[in-house]
Subunit: 106 residues, 2 copies
Amino acid sequence: MSPRKFFHPDLADLTLHRVLFALSDPTRLAVVSELMKTGERASGDLLAESVPRSTMTHHLKILREAGVTRTRPEGMRCLISLRRQDIDARFPGLLDAIMAHGGAEA
Amino acid sequence: MSPRKFFHPDLADLTLHRVLFALSDPTRLAVVSELMKTGERASGDLLAESVPRSTMTHHLKILREAGVTRTRPEGMRCLISLRRQDIDARFPGLLDAIMAHGGAEA
DNA sequence: GTCTATGTACGATTTTCGTCGTACATCGTA
DNA sequence: TACGATGTACGACGAAAATCGTACATAGAC
């Protein structure tokens, strides 16, 4: 019945320490780095390494609830995208500064 | 005997996710914000709110071991300063982007 | 040396996080 | 309807974090 709803915080509700926390994990940092490079990605395509589905779901939930990403159901899959404009509006330069390093080193 | 030694990670050992984690706590964010505004501060002067000494020591240790701050014993007190140059060298623009927001909202 | 001020170290407790297996829900298709 | 593919929800477990009280160490003043 429920067409798969996901909670996304409002722009005004984003807090700096929550965003920073969401980005303080190597796995999540790698996901954001991937999204910045390739744009919207299906959840399953982010499962490159040996990360179980449920673990990835957990990380994506943290990113989403911190306001870093947006999750959009598309058929059978979930498309994940960065909330670039929102984050840039609230914390100008933050994403660029963080990802300038590449995020490779995590 | 020991003239109070503190461990500080080398510049090359700073990792992005550790730095972000150190900054993902409201109390620590407030400390860094204070340091950016007023420069070097004594540890005790950072105890503004109802934070017990031992708790503040804990937070300062996290910041120090992540490479965000430097602790320097000066007489009876401990002077805390930002490792501005180091962080800027390794993660250009990061501190500015984070603190542009003021850090007030934490 | 004694006393006081400033911080640290250690330990205990509670909470949170990261991981993952299993069960369930959704979506498309046959 | 049933089936397979994709993800989520829930629970459990171990590891780490946040808090704070108490005891200890250091530095200066007396």
